[in-house]
C-alpha cells in the first residue's frame, strides 16, 4: 500500500491551501525562465559569499553548498502559536530535568525514570554533579526537530541540546529570498527572523557569572575545517563578539582569558560549538587540540559560563527521549502540547522482539548517532540491508531504538524534473536564559532524493526559507 503524505502546499484536490494561495498564484504567474535564472543567481551568490559547509570524510578543506530551494515552507499563524507554546514547555522541562539529575535526582527518586537510564548513560557527566550554573539553565540553545504527519499533527523527532547548528541558514535563506523575490514580501506578512543574533547575544549576557557587570562573550569554534564553520563566523560577526579557537584561550587562577594584541583579556561567557569531549584535555579527551586546559575547573568555580552547559547530552539522548512527556508532567504539572513519536527501546526484551519482527516497517536509529548516520529506514531498504542491520541490533540491542516510519509531510520542491513533492522537517531554535523565547520559524530541511526521509545536509538534504505568517 502506498501511503498518502500530507502536502504542505496543496489539498488532496490539488488546490492550494489558504495560507499558500497567494504564493501559488505568484508561482503560476511567474515565467519559468525567471525562476530558472533566479535559481542560478542564488547558487552563485551562495558560492561567492562562501556560505558552504565541509563534509566529513571528503577531501580536507573541500566545501559544498547546501542546496537551497526557492519554494518556501509556509506555516499559518495559528499553527505556529501551538508550536511556540509546545516548544517553550518542552525546553523548560528539559532544563528542569538537567538541573535535577545533576542535583537531587528527584525524578529518579520518584520512580518516573529508571536510574540506570540516566546514571549509566555515556552522556551523563559526573563532573557536573552539584555544580550550580547561572539561572539554572543548561540548554541555552536548543534545536528541536519537528515533523508533521497531518493537519495540526506535529511530532518532536529529536531535542538537540548539545551544539545544534543550522540557524545561520535560516537567516541566510531569508536574506536570499528577499533578494531574489522582493515582491513576495509585500504580498505576505512574514514574521522576521533576522534579529536572532541580537536575541542570542542578549540571552548569553543574562547568564554571565554572578558579579560580572559587562560580560565579554565569545564564540568558541573547532576551526575553519569544521563543517559548521560558516555558522560560527556568522554568529560571532552578527553579535559583534570574538570568534575564538581553543589556542586563543588560557586559564589562570580559575579565570579564562583570551590572548589579544593588547595582552590577556578576561572572558565571561563562552558560546561553545565544540562537543563536551573536546573542551578540556585535562578532564575529557587527553588528545584534544581544540579545547582549553583548565576550563572545567574555571567552570565549576563559577568563573565562566558555558553555553550550552556540559552534560546536556543526557537529556537529548535517544534513549531518554521517550521520557520527555513524563518530565513535562513531573516538573511542570502540565500535559505535553507537542507529541513524541512512539519509541521502542531495544534494550527492553519485549520491544526488541517486536522490532525484530517488524524491521521493514520501522526506522531504527543508534542511541548516540547523529547527522543521519548509522540509521535504518526500513521501508526504503533492501532485504540485504535489513538483514545486515538486524545482525548489528542483535549484537548490541541497547545501542538502538526503533520508531514507526512516519508519514512525513512533503512540500513542493524544485528538482531536476521540475517541481515535485519532497519530505521536510522543521528545526526551530529555542533560546533559554532568564526567559525562554525564539524567533518565529526555524530551518526547514528537505530530503531532495525522491522518497527519502533523511533531511540531513551531510546526506544530500537541502533547505528552504520558512515563513510564519503573521495573520
Amino acid at each position: 500500500m502506498k501511503p498518502t503524505f500530507f502536502n504542505e502546499m496543496n489539498e488532496a484536490s490539488g488546490e492550494a491551501r489558504p495560507h499558500y494561495r497567494a504564493y501559488a498564484d505568484w508561482l503560476a504567474a511567474t515565467p519559468e525562465e525567471r525562476i530558472a535564472r533566479k535559481r542560478v543567481e542564488a547558487d552563485i551568490a551562495f558560492h561567492h559569499e562562501g556560505i558552504t559547509f565541509a563534509v566529513y570524510g571528503e577531501e580536507a578543506g573541500k566545501e559544498r553548498l547546501i542546496p537551497f530551494d526557492i519554494i518556501p515552507r509556509i506555516i499559518p499563524a495559528g499553527e505556529w502559536r501551538m508550536l511556540h507554546e509546545g516548544l517553550r514547555q518542552r525546553v523548560k522541562a528539559l532544563n528542569a530535568f538537567l538541573r535535577d539529575i545533576y542535583h537531587d535526582q528527584e525524578i529518579i527518586e520518584a520512580g518516573r525514570i529508571p536510574r540506570e537510564q540516566v546514571i549509566d548513560n555515556a552522556q551523563f557527566r559526573p563532573e557536573m554533579k552539584g555544580v550550580d550554573v547561572a539561572a539554572d539553565i543548561y540548554a541555552h540553545i536548543a534545536g528541536v526537530d519537528l515533523v508533521r504527519a497531518g493537519a495540526g499533527e506535529f511530532y518532536v523527532l529529536e531535542d538537540n541540546l548539545r551544539v545544534p547548528s543550522g540557524v545561520s541558514y535560516m537567516i541566510e535563506n531569508r536574506k536570499m529570498m528577499m533578494r531574489l523575490f522582493p515582491e513576495l514580501f509585500s504580498r505576505h506578512e512574514i514574521a522576521p527572523v533576522e534579529h536572532y543574533p541580537d536575541m542570542l547575544l542578549e540571552n548569553l549576557r543574562t547568564v554571565a557569572p554572578r558579579g560580572v557587570e559587562d560580560p565579554t562573550v565569545v564564540v568558541l569554534t573547532p576551526g575553519a575545517y569544521n563543517s559548521a564553520y560558516f555558522e560560527h563566523t556568522f554568529l560571532a560577526q552578527q553579535m559583534g563578539v570574538e570568534l575564538v579557537e581553543g589556542r586563543d584561550l588560557f586559564v589562570r587562577d580559575d579565570t579564562v582569558y583570551m590572548r589579544t594584541t593588547q595582552g590577556p583579556q578576561r572572558v565571561d561567557v563562552i558560546y561553545r560549538r565544540i562537543d563536551d569531549d573536546f573542551l578540556d584535555p585535562q578532564v575529557f579527551r587527553k588528545d584534544s587540540m581544540l579545547g582549553v586546559p583548565g576550563l572545567l575547573a574555571a567552570y565549576r568555580a563559577g568563573r565562566v559560563t558555558l553555553a550550552n552547559a556540559i552534560g546536556t547530552g543526557v537529556a537529548d539522548d535517544k534513549s531518554i527521549y521517550p521520557y520527555v512527556p513524563e518530565m513535562i508532567r513531573f516538573y511542570l504539572g502540565e500535559e505535553p502540547i507537542l507529541d513524541n513519536v512512539s519509541t521502542y527501546l531495544l534494550r527492553r526484551p519485549d520491544d526488541l522482539a517486536y522490532a525484530l519482527d517488524h524491521l521493514p516497517e520501522l526506522v531504527v536509529k543508534e542511541v548516540h548517532g547523529a547527522g543521519g548516520y548509522g540509521m535504518l529506514v526500513g521501508p526504503a531498504s533492501t532485504k540485504e540491508e535489513i538483514d545486515a542491520f538486524r545482525r548489528r541490533i542483535v549484537a548490541a540491542p541497547e545501542k538502538y531504538i526503533a520508531q514507526p516510519t512516519l508519514a512525513l509531510s512533503n512540500c513542493p520542491t524544485f528538482v531536476e524534473s521540475g517541481v515535485a513533492p519532497r519530505h521536510v522537517d522543521l528545526r526551530p531554535f529555542v533560546l533559554s536564559g532568564r526567559h525562554i523565547d525564539m524567533v518565529p520559524g526555524g530551518l526547514t530541511r528537505v530530503a531532495l532524493r525522491q522518497g527519502s526521509l533523511v533531511v540531513n545536509s551531510s546526506q544530500g538534504g537541502g533547505t528552504k526559507d520558512t515563513w510564519i505568517l503573521e495573520n
Partner: protein
Amino acid sequence: MLSRTADHLYWMSRYIERAENLARLLDVTHQMSLVPKSAGMENQNWGAVLTLNSVEERFTESYGEVTAKNVLHFMVMDPNNLSSIYNCLRVARENAHAVRGTLTSETWESCNVSWIEMRDQRFEQIMITGIGQFLEWVKLRVALIRGVTFGTMLQDEAYHFIRLGGYIERADNTARILDVKYHVLDGSTDEDASDFYQWGALLRSLSAFEGYRKVYRDVITPARVAELLILNRDMPRSLHACMRRMVRVLEAIGNSQSAETERLAGMLHAQIHYARIDDVLKRGLHEYLTDFMDRIYALGDGIGRDFLLP
C-alpha cells in the same frame, strides 16, 4: 583583538600584496621579452624572476631549463610552488576565511571570488588567451580587494594590521627587485638602447614609470631610479613611503611590549628620511639593500613576537 586574528589579517594582506607584485614582475618580464635582444639576455631576465623570489632550487628540481613558458607555469600556476600566484591567492583566501567575521562582507567576497576564479583557470588556456590578460586580471582583482577593504572597513585595529602586512611586504619586494635588477643591469655590457627598456621595465614593475617622468623630466639614469625607489617619500612603493606608513601604524597599535619593535622601525625610517642617494651609492647599493632587507626581516620578527600568534 585576538592575536590570532591579527596574525591572519597580517598574512592575508602580505599574500595579496605578494600576488600583485608577482603579477607586475611577470608582466614586465614578459613585455621585455618582446623587445629584440639576445637569447642569453632573455633567459637572464626570466632567471632573475626566480632569483628574486628565492626559488631557483625548487624550479631546477622540477623544470630544469629556464624558459619563458617554464618560469611562467612555475610562478603562475604551480601548486607545489608556495610563491606562485595560485598559492598566494589560495593562502590569502584561507587567512581571510579564518577571520571572515572580522572582514567586511565585501572584502571577504572579493577575496573568495578571486580564489574561486583562480582555481578554475587552466594554464594552457591562459597561454592561448595571452599571459598579459591574465596578469592584468590579477592586478585588477588585487586592486578590487584593496579598494573594497579600505573603502568599507572600520579604521580599527584590524585595519591597521592589514596595512602593516601590506607595507612590510611591499618594502621587501621593492628592495629585492631593485637589488636583483640593479645587479643584472649594472654588470651588463649591453650598452645599446635596450638599457633604456630594461630600466623602464624595472620602473614599470613598480608602477613608477610615470612617476619618474613627473619627478625628473629627464632621461633615465640608474642613480635616479635608485633615488626614486628608495628615498622618494611620495612614491607609494618606495622604501621611504613604506617605512613612513609602517611607523605610523606601529604607533597606533603599540602595546606594552612593542617598544623595541617601534624603535627599530623608527630608526630605519629616520635613516631613509635623511639619507642622500650619493652616500647610498658610495657605500654600495647592494650592501645598502641587503642591510635594509635584514632589518625589515628583524622588524617582521618583532611584529610577530609582540602582536601575533604566540
